[in-house]
Amino acid sequence: MNLAQMWRQLPAALVKLDPRHLWRSPVLFIVWLGSVATTVSAVADPSTFSVLLAVWLWLTVVFGNLAEAVAEGRGKAQAASLRAARTDVSARRLVDGAEELVPGTSLVVGDLVKVLAGEVIPGDGDVVEGVASVDESAITGESAPVIREAGGDRSAVTGGTRVLSDEITVRITAASGETFLDRMIALVEGAERRKTPNEIALSILLVSLTIVFVLAVATLQPMAELAGAPQRTIVLIALLVCLIPTTIGALLSAIGIAGMDRLVQVNVLAMSGRAVEAAGDVSTLLLDKTGTITYGNRRASRFLPADGVTLAVVQDAARLASLADLTPEGRSIVELADEQGSAPDDLPAGAELVEFTAQTRMSGVDLPGGRELRKGASSAVVAWTGAPLPPALQASVDEVAGSGGTPLVVAERHGETFRALGVVHLKDVVKEGMAERFAELRRMGIRTVMITGDNALTARAIAAEAGVDDFLAEATPEDKLALIQKEQEGGRLVAMTGDGTNDAPALAAADVGVAMSSGTSAAKEAGNMVDLDSDPTKLIDVVAIGKQLLITRGSLTTFSIANDVAKYFAIVPAMFVAAYPSLDTLNVMRLATPESAILSAVVFNAIVIVALIPLALRGVAYRAQSAAAVLRRNLLVFGLGGVVVPFVGIKLIDLVLSQLPGIR
């Protein structure tokens, strides 16, 4: 955000001077009317004062437009890069099994198209056949290709992305012009922007303030006449423009656009401004355990040897049994053993890998020399050895299970001799820093609920470790939906993430439903935001951005209204000092002349808009604090600051203006 950016948007701001556009912002429209009237007056009766006044009133309107134009300009740049992805492509439409080449734009919902390696997918759809790696960088900015395959939760493909390998058949789910890409473009351009509920409520406040000031200024003239000090119309217009909340009136739509834009910058697309606003209000956050709170996989955390077995033996056995196991769990066992200093042997030659099967529910290795090693659930190992576990070992198993972990028993066989060696404790590892983030959320007044398919025991253990407020164990999609409805019944706003088709009802019911871009189109359709990075922790950022949007709106409103105090002190003595010389006492800023005082207030009023554009676009800094702390800080900065700053600003401007001939 810099002056060059503003300068570039100046033409766009001038176009917005069209009253048909301005009508939507009543505050700026009043300024526009005042500018016209002042211009007419300045032409009819030119003086330095009237001409300068007319110029600065016009600048006030232009600056107001500039705020909106700059905010929109950023979106337009993003839209342009997205449009580049939407090159006109031809599609191989399948009609009764036969391929025909048609333009991508002619596709309708339900059409089947075949996409080969190297080709661009012609429209949004679900893969119905095949598996392919797809380059989605045009939309997500992520260069690593993703796998898309028929069935399951990774079946959705987006028009404009490119198939890198293999071929797939896609059923089109969105008509041309309504694809995800099209909607993204419309969103970032702000073409579909509608006022959000809170924006409407704030506008009502601003309009009513404007009406009060129109009345106050309109009725001032007969009062002034009674006092023997009738005022020039342009002076009354200047007073009115300074009093009505031009600052927030000018910046309001820019703040809204910038809020959406900040979401886009963290790669989240909000389908409506309403959703962003709701994010600030969220009081319950539903988070999936896997991938959000914990790393996706369980990891080995310790070895528990059986009686009469040394730790080293268990480590070695578990390590050997897992060397060929390429699952993340298997690898974590090897890593743990290595960390704990187990002898780093490689698998000896001739060792035979035993893979996990649904029948044995164990995996392991048969070493040359007849030693067989297995690891698996205790019931599977018991079935294999044909004898119950020794009591001490059984106790270890129960302890691990009781703590919410997964016990894995390691056993060996030499000929007919079975021996249980020990237990590997597998557990979910909570991502680093999660407890702090949840504590932060709690300070913001947000309750976190962990959603997991685990049993209650496991869920409770992880919930305690991660520091979430509550958990939903063995959760089915119906449970999720029921939980959301229960929370909403209590008046809470719920946010959640989801990617699967079975998440769609819950996503639709949630007040803020963030669908993963990797998810199914049903999920994306149901949610009101899409996370292009498919990162479920993003929800926390989304809430912060929503809050920041509202804070910016409230703070600038406060600032705008607080500014009026100083403007009164500048203008009112200037208007009536001739009739009541005692009112000069109110001229606390000691402004040079009545003309310079009025003009200074008007100039300050215009400049403050430009000065605040960067803040409106960036948003007021938000830290996770209690409401009282946030309020105290913002009241101090924007309330008290709003009273003080204009006194200084108007005085400084007056020092400059009073040097002008014709004003002095």
Binding site: L220, A227, R553, A562
Partner: protein, 552 residues
Amino acid sequence: MTDTLSGLLTIAALLALLALAYVPLGDHMARVLTSTRHTRLERGIYRVVGVDPDAEMSPRGYVMGVLAFSAVSIALLMAILMGQAALPWDRGLPGMPWDMALNTAVSFVTNTNWQSYAGESTLGFAAQAGGLAVQNFLSAAVGLAVAVAVIRGFTRARSSTIGSFWVDLVRGVLRILLPLALVGAVVLLVLGVVQSFTDTTVQTLAGGTQTVPGGPVASQEVIKQLGTNGGGFFNANSAHPFENPSALSNLFAIFLLLVIPVSLTRTLGTLLGDRRQGYTVLGAMAFLWGTALAVTTWSEAGGHGQSAVAAGSAMEGKETQLGTWASSLFAVSTTGTSTGAVNASHDSMTPLGGGTALVHMMLGEVSPGGVGTGLYGILVVAILAVFVAGLMVGRTPELLGKKIGAREMTYVALYTLVTPALVLVGVGLAVALPSTGDAMGNPGGHGFSEVVYAFTSAANNNGSAFGGLTVTSTFFQLSLAAAMLLGRLVPIVLVLLLAGSLARQRKVPTTAGTLATNTPLFAGLVVGVVVLVSALTYFPTLALGPIAEALS
């Protein structure tokens, strides 16, 4: 005893009395207004009127109830005032002219009690006791009913009704105002307020005869204060020795006019189940009242202003046995409660003191405001405060678990607009008329202040007069009547619709992210909004009147 000491003792005694009454009266009102039981007398009344006391009303129904009741009240009172010659105890006085009757009827029905007539020389006892005093009870009860309906907006969730206007009205009169008035009237009698149905003819020292008007004063005086009405039996209002005979009766009168508005904050806290919320509202009201009192007393007793400097203190227009302290306390309490009674001529106060009385009304009568009106007035301000402050903490605003959306904001914004619009347009029109110059009692800034005061008093339903201005012309009778009527009923309609909209919502639970509204910080915020909104609205007007005067 010095003036200062007696003044401070009076204030201390007043605060002690209010503190004593606060909890019992506040909780009594909470009980009465939520009870599901009807007394036999009440059942009888409902049967006669044909009302089902257990049928709750929608906001629209409640509004229609208030409007219809007010219309009937105005018509009846007008008839009594114009036709008083046909009533007993008419003291041989003729009926009022129609414009004065309309003005007076509107004035008493709207709890304003603006008086463009002199009581003792215009009205018989029947019109006073059977017309005006009745409306003193009823108009206060209407305010109370509306306030409790608004509280229900906050306490109820997913409700389409906000109570029954008729039940609230009847209970307000029978269970709250009448018992208190009965006790209060006896106290006033003991303190020396007259109660008779005859005028007394006496021999003067010079040997001539003089008729001293009497009348049922105590019974009317008590509800005049208790119901924050303010319309005096006599023209001199509470400066008349029969109406306010001593410093003690003066103190008791101030206690009466403050006790219900103050205790209603307890009622609010009790009904919300959050006592601190009640204290917060009370704190904001008390701060405004205390500041106004400090400024007025400093200005009046400190002898500021040219003539006062010469005299030592500003005693012009004041009752000598009351002095500047008690007069200031009375002026601040009546202008802050929309009572409108006066025990001194506000026109003769120092510029700063008179200006404070004016500003105190411009704040919107919330310190602590009239019976009921003060409470719903400050709740509207609280919504305004929470709207901006709520955004500043990063949530869409909510007050007491209710979201403040576009619909609520529309009602609040219009509510906030009504009084300033009436005052500004009224004053603008009045000063644009050439005839107004002749009606003013003083030239220049002071004369302008008189006009501003009149419209501020009428639109805010206060009723106190600055004096000086002659308001018997048809223009003033009608324009002030319009200001009183619109200044009363439009806000009531809006605030009832607001209550309905709040009651329909579900309740949002409080979290750490919610802006707490029961803290000193929020009380400060409410004070800030009250002051800022009125300052921004009236600054130019004030600059041409009291400010210009005070600075010269």
